[in-house]
Amino acid sequence: MVKPKFYDLNVHSIPDGKNTPQQMAALAKHLGYTGIAITNHSSTESKPTGFESNGFETFRGIEIVSNNPSKLHGLIGKYRQNVDVLTIHGGNESINRAAVENRNVDILAHLPTPKDSGLNHILAKSASANNVAIEFNLDFIFKGHGGRRVHTLSHFRKNVEIARKFDVPMILTSNAVSYFDLRAPREMIALAGLFGMEKNEAISAISTVPAGIIAGNRPKPGFIREGVEEIVEKVDIVNTSEDISESEEAGWSN
Protein backbone atom coordinates (compact mmCIF):
# COMPACT_ATOMS: atom_id res chain seq x y z
CA MET A 1 0.00 0.00 0.00
CA VAL A 2 1.22 3.48 -0.83
CA LYS A 3 1.73 5.63 2.25
CA PRO A 4 -0.79 8.48 2.09
CA LYS A 5 0.35 12.10 2.11
CA PHE A 6 -1.02 14.03 5.05
CA TYR A 7 -2.04 17.69 5.16
CA ASP A 8 -3.20 20.00 7.93
CA LEU A 9 -5.15 22.84 6.38
CA ASN A 10 -5.82 24.99 9.45
CA VAL A 11 -2.67 26.27 11.13
CA HIS A 12 -2.22 29.79 12.50
CA SER A 13 1.08 31.64 12.64
CA ILE A 14 2.13 35.12 13.76
CA PRO A 15 0.10 37.39 14.19
CA ASP A 16 -2.75 34.98 15.09
CA GLY A 17 -0.49 32.44 16.71
CA LYS A 18 2.81 32.47 18.57
CA ASN A 19 5.19 30.99 15.98
CA THR A 20 6.42 31.81 12.50
CA PRO A 21 5.21 29.80 9.48
CA GLN A 22 8.74 28.38 9.14
CA GLN A 23 8.72 27.01 12.70
CA MET A 24 5.27 25.47 12.21
CA ALA A 25 6.39 23.91 8.92
CA ALA A 26 9.56 22.43 10.47
CA LEU A 27 7.62 20.67 13.23
CA ALA A 28 4.79 19.58 10.92
CA LYS A 29 7.38 17.98 8.64
CA HIS A 30 8.93 16.16 11.59
CA LEU A 31 5.49 14.85 12.60
CA GLY A 32 4.97 13.35 9.14
CA TYR A 33 2.96 15.90 7.17
CA THR A 34 3.56 16.66 3.49
CA GLY A 35 2.06 20.13 3.69
CA ILE A 36 0.23 22.61 5.87
CA ALA A 37 -1.84 25.68 5.10
CA ILE A 38 -1.33 28.86 7.10
CA THR A 39 -4.87 30.15 7.52
CA ASN A 40 -4.72 33.34 9.57
CA HIS A 41 -7.91 35.24 10.32
CA SER A 42 -9.01 37.83 7.79
CA SER A 43 -9.64 40.23 10.71
CA THR A 44 -5.89 40.52 11.41
CA GLU A 45 -5.27 41.68 7.81
CA SER A 46 -2.26 39.42 7.38
CA LYS A 47 -1.15 38.69 3.85
CA PRO A 48 -1.44 35.01 2.78
CA THR A 49 2.04 33.53 2.36
CA GLY A 50 3.22 30.23 0.95
CA PHE A 51 6.59 28.59 0.33
CA GLU A 52 8.14 25.23 -0.42
CA SER A 53 11.28 23.66 1.02
CA ASN A 54 12.67 20.11 0.68
CA GLY A 55 9.42 18.61 -0.56
CA PHE A 56 7.36 20.18 2.22
CA GLU A 57 4.86 22.74 1.07
CA THR A 58 3.21 25.53 3.01
CA PHE A 59 0.03 26.68 1.28
CA ARG A 60 -1.47 30.15 1.23
CA GLY A 61 -4.70 30.20 3.17
CA ILE A 62 -7.16 32.50 4.83
CA GLU A 63 -9.80 32.01 7.50
CA ILE A 64 -12.53 34.55 6.87
CA VAL A 65 -14.27 35.91 9.96
CA SER A 66 -17.48 37.87 9.51
CA ASN A 67 -20.87 38.23 11.17
CA ASN A 68 -22.65 39.45 8.07
CA PRO A 69 -23.46 37.06 5.18
CA SER A 70 -23.38 39.75 2.46
CA LYS A 71 -20.02 41.07 3.69
CA LEU A 72 -18.86 37.45 3.79
CA HIS A 73 -19.53 36.98 0.06
CA GLY A 74 -17.56 40.18 -0.61
CA LEU A 75 -14.59 38.94 1.42
CA ILE A 76 -14.68 35.58 -0.39
CA GLY A 77 -14.44 37.42 -3.73
CA LYS A 78 -11.58 39.54 -2.43
CA TYR A 79 -9.40 36.65 -1.24
CA ARG A 80 -10.33 33.84 -3.67
CA GLN A 81 -7.70 34.56 -6.32
CA ASN A 82 -4.82 34.88 -3.84
CA VAL A 83 -5.19 31.73 -1.77
CA ASP A 84 -4.99 27.94 -2.10
CA VAL A 85 -7.30 27.31 0.84
CA LEU A 86 -10.30 29.46 1.70
CA THR A 87 -11.83 28.67 5.08
CA ILE A 88 -14.87 30.29 6.67
CA HIS A 89 -15.08 30.69 10.44
CA GLY A 90 -18.67 29.60 11.09
CA GLY A 91 -20.47 29.21 14.38
CA ASN A 92 -23.50 31.29 13.51
CA GLU A 93 -26.53 30.04 11.66
CA SER A 94 -26.55 32.61 8.84
CA ILE A 95 -22.77 32.41 8.27
CA ASN A 96 -22.85 28.60 8.14
CA ARG A 97 -25.63 28.79 5.58
CA ALA A 98 -23.95 31.46 3.44
CA ALA A 99 -20.69 29.47 3.47
CA VAL A 100 -22.13 26.17 2.25
CA GLU A 101 -24.07 27.94 -0.51
CA ASN A 102 -20.97 29.54 -2.03
CA ARG A 103 -19.03 27.41 -4.53
CA ASN A 104 -15.86 29.42 -3.91
CA VAL A 105 -15.62 28.24 -0.31
CA ASP A 106 -13.31 25.29 0.38
CA ILE A 107 -13.85 24.62 4.07
CA LEU A 108 -16.39 25.60 6.72
CA ALA A 109 -14.74 25.54 10.17
CA HIS A 110 -16.04 25.89 13.74
CA LEU A 111 -19.64 24.96 12.86
CA PRO A 112 -21.18 24.38 16.27
CA THR A 113 -23.41 27.32 17.26
CA PRO A 114 -24.29 28.08 20.90
CA LYS A 115 -27.53 26.13 20.37
CA ASP A 116 -26.66 23.09 18.27
CA SER A 117 -24.08 21.25 16.17
CA GLY A 118 -24.43 23.78 13.31
CA LEU A 119 -25.17 21.24 10.57
CA ASN A 120 -28.57 20.01 9.45
CA HIS A 121 -29.91 18.17 6.39
CA ILE A 122 -30.46 21.43 4.42
CA LEU A 123 -26.92 22.70 4.97
CA ALA A 124 -25.50 19.24 4.35
CA LYS A 125 -27.22 19.03 0.94
CA SER A 126 -25.85 22.44 -0.09
CA ALA A 127 -22.38 21.59 1.20
CA SER A 128 -22.41 18.36 -0.78
CA ALA A 129 -23.64 20.11 -3.97
CA ASN A 130 -21.09 22.93 -3.69
CA ASN A 131 -18.27 20.68 -2.49
CA VAL A 132 -17.66 22.62 0.73
CA ALA A 133 -15.77 20.50 3.25
CA ILE A 134 -16.91 20.37 6.86
CA GLU A 135 -14.04 20.82 9.27
CA PHE A 136 -13.52 18.96 12.52
CA ASN A 137 -10.97 21.00 14.43
CA LEU A 138 -9.52 18.58 16.94
CA ASP A 139 -7.93 21.19 19.23
CA PHE A 140 -11.25 21.30 21.08
CA ILE A 141 -10.74 17.66 21.97
CA PHE A 142 -7.10 17.55 22.95
CA LYS A 143 -6.96 20.99 24.58
CA GLY A 144 -10.45 21.29 26.04
CA HIS A 145 -11.84 19.55 29.09
CA GLY A 146 -15.04 19.19 31.05
CA GLY A 147 -18.45 20.14 29.71
CA ARG A 148 -17.13 21.97 26.68
CA ARG A 149 -15.28 18.92 25.42
CA VAL A 150 -18.31 16.71 26.09
CA HIS A 151 -20.52 19.03 24.00
CA THR A 152 -17.94 19.23 21.22
CA LEU A 153 -17.66 15.45 21.03
CA SER A 154 -21.43 15.01 20.77
CA HIS A 155 -21.71 17.78 18.14
CA PHE A 156 -18.93 16.18 16.11
CA ARG A 157 -20.55 12.76 16.40
CA LYS A 158 -23.83 14.16 15.05
CA ASN A 159 -22.06 16.03 12.24
CA VAL A 160 -20.18 12.91 11.14
CA GLU A 161 -23.47 11.06 10.95
CA ILE A 162 -25.12 13.78 8.82
CA ALA A 163 -22.06 14.31 6.61
CA ARG A 164 -21.85 10.58 5.93
CA LYS A 165 -25.52 10.40 4.92
CA PHE A 166 -25.32 13.34 2.48
CA ASP A 167 -21.81 12.61 1.24
CA VAL A 168 -20.30 15.88 2.47
CA PRO A 169 -16.48 16.00 2.38
CA MET A 170 -15.00 15.93 5.88
CA ILE A 171 -11.63 17.31 6.91
CA LEU A 172 -9.55 17.00 10.08
CA THR A 173 -7.38 19.90 11.23
CA SER A 174 -5.52 20.93 14.35
CA ASN A 175 -6.38 24.66 14.29
CA ALA A 176 -2.96 25.13 15.90
CA VAL A 177 -1.95 28.53 17.24
CA SER A 178 1.38 27.30 18.61
CA TYR A 179 3.59 24.43 17.54
CA PHE A 180 2.62 22.54 20.68
CA ASP A 181 -0.90 22.38 19.22
CA LEU A 182 0.12 20.31 16.21
CA ARG A 183 -0.56 16.59 16.34
CA ALA A 184 0.90 13.81 14.18
CA PRO A 185 -1.46 12.37 11.51
CA ARG A 186 -1.86 9.01 13.26
CA GLU A 187 -2.82 10.81 16.48
CA MET A 188 -5.38 12.89 14.57
CA ILE A 189 -6.91 9.69 13.17
CA ALA A 190 -7.05 8.18 16.67
CA LEU A 191 -8.74 11.33 18.01
CA ALA A 192 -11.30 11.21 15.18
CA GLY A 193 -12.18 7.70 16.34
CA LEU A 194 -13.43 9.21 19.61
CA PHE A 195 -16.46 10.71 17.86
CA GLY A 196 -17.33 7.81 15.63
CA MET A 197 -15.31 8.51 12.49
CA GLU A 198 -14.21 5.28 10.81
CA LYS A 199 -10.49 4.81 10.24
CA ASN A 200 -10.72 4.98 6.43
CA GLU A 201 -12.90 8.11 6.64
CA ALA A 202 -10.39 9.73 8.98
CA ILE A 203 -7.47 8.86 6.70
CA SER A 204 -9.15 10.43 3.67
CA ALA A 205 -10.20 13.44 5.80
CA ILE A 206 -6.55 14.18 6.45
CA SER A 207 -5.01 13.09 3.12
CA THR A 208 -7.12 12.85 -0.06
CA VAL A 209 -9.76 15.48 0.80
CA PRO A 210 -7.22 18.25 1.58
CA ALA A 211 -5.10 17.17 -1.41
CA GLY A 212 -8.20 17.47 -3.61
CA ILE A 213 -8.90 20.98 -2.32
CA ILE A 214 -5.36 22.12 -3.10
CA ALA A 215 -5.36 20.48 -6.55
CA GLY A 216 -8.75 22.01 -7.39
CA ASN A 217 -7.48 25.50 -6.61
CA ARG A 218 -4.30 25.12 -8.61
CA PRO A 219 -5.43 24.73 -12.19
CA LYS A 220 -3.07 23.10 -14.65
CA PRO A 221 -1.41 25.41 -17.22
CA GLY A 222 -3.96 24.93 -20.05
CA PHE A 223 -7.02 25.22 -17.81
CA ILE A 224 -9.83 27.48 -19.08
CA ARG A 225 -12.91 26.45 -17.11
CA GLU A 226 -14.34 23.28 -15.64
CA GLY A 227 -14.33 20.66 -18.41
CA VAL A 228 -12.52 22.88 -20.91
CA GLU A 229 -8.78 22.63 -21.21
CA GLU A 230 -6.24 23.77 -23.78
CA ILE A 231 -3.81 21.05 -24.80
CA VAL A 232 -0.55 22.44 -26.16
CA GLU A 233 1.55 20.02 -28.20
CA LYS A 234 5.23 19.83 -27.38
CA VAL A 235 7.07 22.30 -29.63
CA ASP A 236 10.23 21.26 -31.44
CA ILE A 237 12.85 23.98 -30.89
CA VAL A 238 14.36 23.76 -34.42
CA ASN A 239 11.18 24.25 -36.48
CA THR A 240 9.54 26.72 -34.18
CA SER A 241 7.42 28.70 -36.65
CA GLU A 242 5.68 25.69 -38.25
CA ASP A 243 5.06 23.87 -35.01
CA ILE A 244 3.47 26.83 -33.28
CA SER A 245 0.86 27.19 -36.03
CA GLU A 246 0.14 23.46 -35.79
CA SER A 247 -0.25 23.53 -32.05
CA GLU A 248 -2.67 26.44 -32.31
CA GLU A 249 -4.87 24.36 -34.59
CA ALA A 250 -4.63 21.39 -32.24
CA GLY A 251 -6.80 23.56 -30.04
CA TRP A 252 -9.43 22.57 -27.59
CA SER A 253 -10.52 19.40 -26.03
CA ASN A 254 -13.33 18.59 -23.72
Partner: protein, 116 residues
Protein backbone atom coordinates in the same frame (compact mmCIF):
# COMPACT_ATOMS: atom_id res chain seq x y z
CA UNK B 1 2.01 -17.19 43.10
CA UNK B 2 2.46 -19.06 39.87
CA UNK B 3 2.60 -16.88 36.76
CA UNK B 4 -0.14 -17.33 34.18
CA UNK B 5 0.50 -19.56 31.15
CA UNK B 6 1.13 -17.55 27.94
CA UNK B 7 -2.35 -18.22 26.51
CA UNK B 8 -4.00 -16.61 29.53
CA UNK B 9 -1.75 -13.56 29.73
CA UNK B 10 -3.05 -10.21 28.49
CA UNK B 11 -1.71 -9.31 25.09
CA UNK B 12 0.13 -6.00 25.09
CA UNK B 13 1.28 -3.31 22.74
CA UNK B 14 4.20 -0.99 23.41
CA UNK B 15 3.99 2.62 22.22
CA UNK B 16 7.35 4.33 21.76
CA UNK B 17 7.09 8.10 22.09
CA UNK B 18 9.10 11.27 22.24
CA UNK B 19 8.18 14.25 24.38
CA UNK B 20 8.77 17.55 22.60
CA UNK B 21 9.27 20.27 25.20
CA UNK B 22 11.37 23.30 26.03
CA UNK B 23 12.41 22.20 29.51
CA UNK B 24 13.48 18.90 31.05
CA UNK B 25 10.50 16.93 32.41
CA UNK B 26 10.86 14.38 35.23
CA UNK B 27 9.30 10.93 35.15
CA UNK B 28 7.08 11.71 38.17
CA UNK B 29 5.65 14.86 36.60
CA UNK B 30 4.99 13.09 33.32
CA UNK B 31 3.33 10.14 35.06
CA UNK B 32 1.05 12.37 37.14
CA UNK B 33 -0.04 14.44 34.14
CA UNK B 34 -0.52 11.34 31.97
CA UNK B 35 -2.96 9.70 34.38
CA UNK B 36 -4.75 13.01 34.93
CA UNK B 37 -5.30 13.55 31.19
CA UNK B 38 -6.14 9.95 30.37
CA UNK B 39 -8.53 9.84 33.34
CA UNK B 40 -10.23 13.02 32.23
CA UNK B 41 -10.80 11.72 28.68
CA UNK B 42 -11.74 8.07 29.20
CA UNK B 43 -12.28 7.82 32.97
CA UNK B 44 -11.02 5.29 35.47
CA UNK B 45 -12.94 2.43 33.86
CA UNK B 46 -11.56 3.21 30.41
CA UNK B 47 -8.02 3.59 31.75
CA UNK B 48 -8.20 0.21 33.43
CA UNK B 49 -9.49 -1.42 30.22
CA UNK B 50 -6.60 0.13 28.31
CA UNK B 51 -4.18 -1.06 30.98
CA UNK B 52 -1.98 1.99 30.48
CA UNK B 53 1.39 1.91 32.19
CA UNK B 54 4.52 3.99 31.73
CA UNK B 55 7.55 1.73 31.40
CA UNK B 56 10.76 3.57 30.58
CA UNK B 57 11.09 7.33 30.42
CA UNK B 58 14.43 9.07 30.03
CA UNK B 59 15.90 11.82 27.84
CA UNK B 60 12.37 12.81 26.76
CA UNK B 61 11.81 9.39 25.19
CA UNK B 62 9.87 6.50 26.59
CA UNK B 63 7.55 3.53 26.22
CA UNK B 64 3.90 3.23 27.27
CA UNK B 65 2.28 -0.18 27.56
CA UNK B 66 -1.38 -0.81 26.79
CA UNK B 67 -3.81 -3.59 25.94
CA UNK B 68 -3.41 -4.76 22.33
CA UNK B 69 -7.02 -4.00 21.34
CA UNK B 70 -6.87 -0.45 22.76
CA UNK B 71 -3.90 1.09 20.96
CA UNK B 72 -5.97 3.70 19.12
CA UNK B 73 -7.81 4.80 22.27
CA UNK B 74 -4.53 4.95 24.20
CA UNK B 75 -2.95 6.97 21.41
CA UNK B 76 -5.85 9.45 21.50
CA UNK B 77 -5.76 9.67 25.29
CA UNK B 78 -2.00 10.25 25.46
CA UNK B 79 -2.11 13.07 22.88
CA UNK B 80 -4.41 15.07 25.18
CA UNK B 81 -1.37 15.84 27.36
CA UNK B 82 -0.77 19.54 26.67
CA UNK B 83 0.91 20.89 29.83
CA UNK B 84 3.30 19.35 32.35
CA UNK B 85 4.02 21.44 35.48
CA UNK B 86 2.68 24.50 33.71
CA UNK B 87 4.88 24.12 30.60
CA UNK B 88 3.67 23.25 27.11
CA UNK B 89 4.59 19.80 25.79
CA UNK B 90 3.77 17.62 22.80
CA UNK B 91 3.69 13.81 22.89
CA UNK B 92 4.62 12.30 19.53
CA UNK B 93 4.08 8.55 19.16
CA UNK B 94 6.96 7.17 17.10
CA UNK B 95 5.60 3.67 16.64
CA UNK B 96 3.81 0.67 18.09
CA UNK B 97 5.38 -2.72 18.68
CA UNK B 98 4.46 -6.06 20.25
CA UNK B 99 7.59 -6.28 22.39
CA UNK B 100 9.66 -3.85 24.44
CA UNK B 101 12.81 -4.88 22.58
CA UNK B 102 11.09 -4.25 19.24
CA UNK B 103 9.86 -0.82 20.28
CA UNK B 104 13.29 0.16 21.59
CA UNK B 105 15.28 -1.11 18.63
CA UNK B 106 12.96 0.11 15.91
CA UNK B 107 11.82 3.46 17.22
CA UNK B 108 13.96 4.71 20.11
CA UNK B 109 17.60 3.77 19.56
CA UNK B 110 19.63 6.55 18.02
CA UNK B 111 16.64 8.83 17.56
CA UNK B 112 17.22 12.49 18.29
CA UNK B 113 14.26 14.19 19.96
CA UNK B 114 13.05 17.13 17.89
CA UNK B 115 14.35 20.38 19.35
CA UNK B 116 12.40 23.56 18.94
Amino acid sequence: MKILPPTLRDKKRYLAFELICEHEITREDFLREMFLCVGSLIGDVGSSECGIRLLTFEDSKGIIRCAHTKTELTRAAVTTITHISGKRVLVHILGVSGTIAGATEKYLEGIEVFTL
